[in-house]
Symmetry: C2
Subunit: 224 residues, 2 copies
């Protein structure tokens, strides 16, 4: 085989990964799956598009080797093929934020008042949480919390946040996080908690971002 042909073949293989992450819908799927395995049904509900389309995109991701499936009764459960796929998503988003001004503009627009965002460094936050000075709340669905969550974080799913408010002291600083910078759950939580008088900010990191930055995450706790 000639050199050129072999080279083309190599770059073409990498381009398959590139193609897989060149569609907005597929990126959204990857981000969701980075929170934990999910059925097609759940993914369809989150994306708010036709099941057939979700299925087609999942097929593309499968053929690129980025996700795997297993059957569970009537449901097909998808998950990321390995941890580095979540890292790839984080890196793509970071590069996009760095090099695409429009994205930064849109992101700033999202949170409105920048004082709603946490300015503390990850290391400082971790130390404050360890000492009990701040309370970190994970506002994603419980199953995602179980797959992995930040150290010292409490699960407080946005869907049933009102019920949890009783156990949240008003005199402590609260930090809310969700799936990452593109997820609105923590923003909504900040809005609700602020209206109740809490001092609360959003941490833009999700578990993947936290992990990609080299910080530890916790998992397990299958208790309801």
């Amino acid at each position: 085989m000639k050199k050129r042909e072999l080279k083309d073949l190599l770059y073409e293989q990498v381009a398959r990964i590139g193609k897989a992450v060149s569609s907005p819908k597929r990126l959204e799927l990857l981000e969701l799956l980075a929170q934990g395995e999910k059925s097609v049904e759940v993914l369809t509900a989150e994306l708010a598009v036709d099941v057939k389309l979700v299925s087609a995109h999942l097929r593309a991701l499968r053929e690129a080797g980025l996700v795997c499936v297993r059957r569970e009764g009537k449901f097909m459960i998808y998950r990321l093929a390995a941890g580095d796929v979540a890292g790839l998503w984080v890196m793509l988003r970071q590069v996009a934020e760095t090099h695409l001004g429009e994205l930064r503009t849109a992101l700033n627009h999202l949170s409105g008042d920048p004082s709603r965002l946490l300015a503390t460094s990850r290391a400082t936050l971790l130390e404050q949480a360890r000492q009990g000075d701040v309370i970190i709340i994970d506002v994603r669905p419980l199953s995602e919390f179980h797959t992995a969550h930040l150290p010292y974080a409490r699960s407080m799913p946005m869907a049933e946040i009102e019920q949890h408010l009783l156990h949240l002291p008003l005199d402590k600083e609260i930090v809310a996080y969700c799936r990452g910078p593109f997820c609105f759950l923590a923003d909504d939580a900040v809005t609700v908690l602020q209206s109740k008088g809490y001092r609360v900010r959003k941490l833009t990191d999700g578990v993947s971002e936290w992990q990609a930055a080299g910080f530890p995450v916790e998992a397990g706790e299958v208790a309801a």
Copy 2:
């Protein structure tokens, strides 16, 4: 603006980066530019395709914010927009190697005898080079060596390797590297040096891979 619309807008921006890295040619351009800035002329020669096509792909990379240009006389000099773009290329390639069996097969096929590859860890190699136990040679063109190279490495461009052989002791272990796992320069160097009786192996890392792994690189030395 509705939530869905804003979300779609965000993922679409990241997908622009994905689209930019979804073409084999553009990936090859990124890898070349990761070695240092280059004119369209040079890039065209390396890719072995029409200038117009190279120009079109460079345009796409520019619009994604991954590369920048500056004019120098009649020439347009392209360079990566920032260091993390090289990191993105390395990560894409690594994910592809992990998840695409075909790529691993092709790569193994490339080097033929696996004994031609260096098995030592990066840390060990660095220590051996520091102590002078091994000689690291950089077989890329000199300008790329000047942009950045591995610590303790000597420039020994493949194009004029015969002339440098006089200064290379036969009793030392030699390690050759080039642009990365997809580049053949170091493979060719191993072939030549082995035929001359050297104990020589290829380090599959290029400068970007070495740096992405957290190891230091050196730059400068504008002396000819």
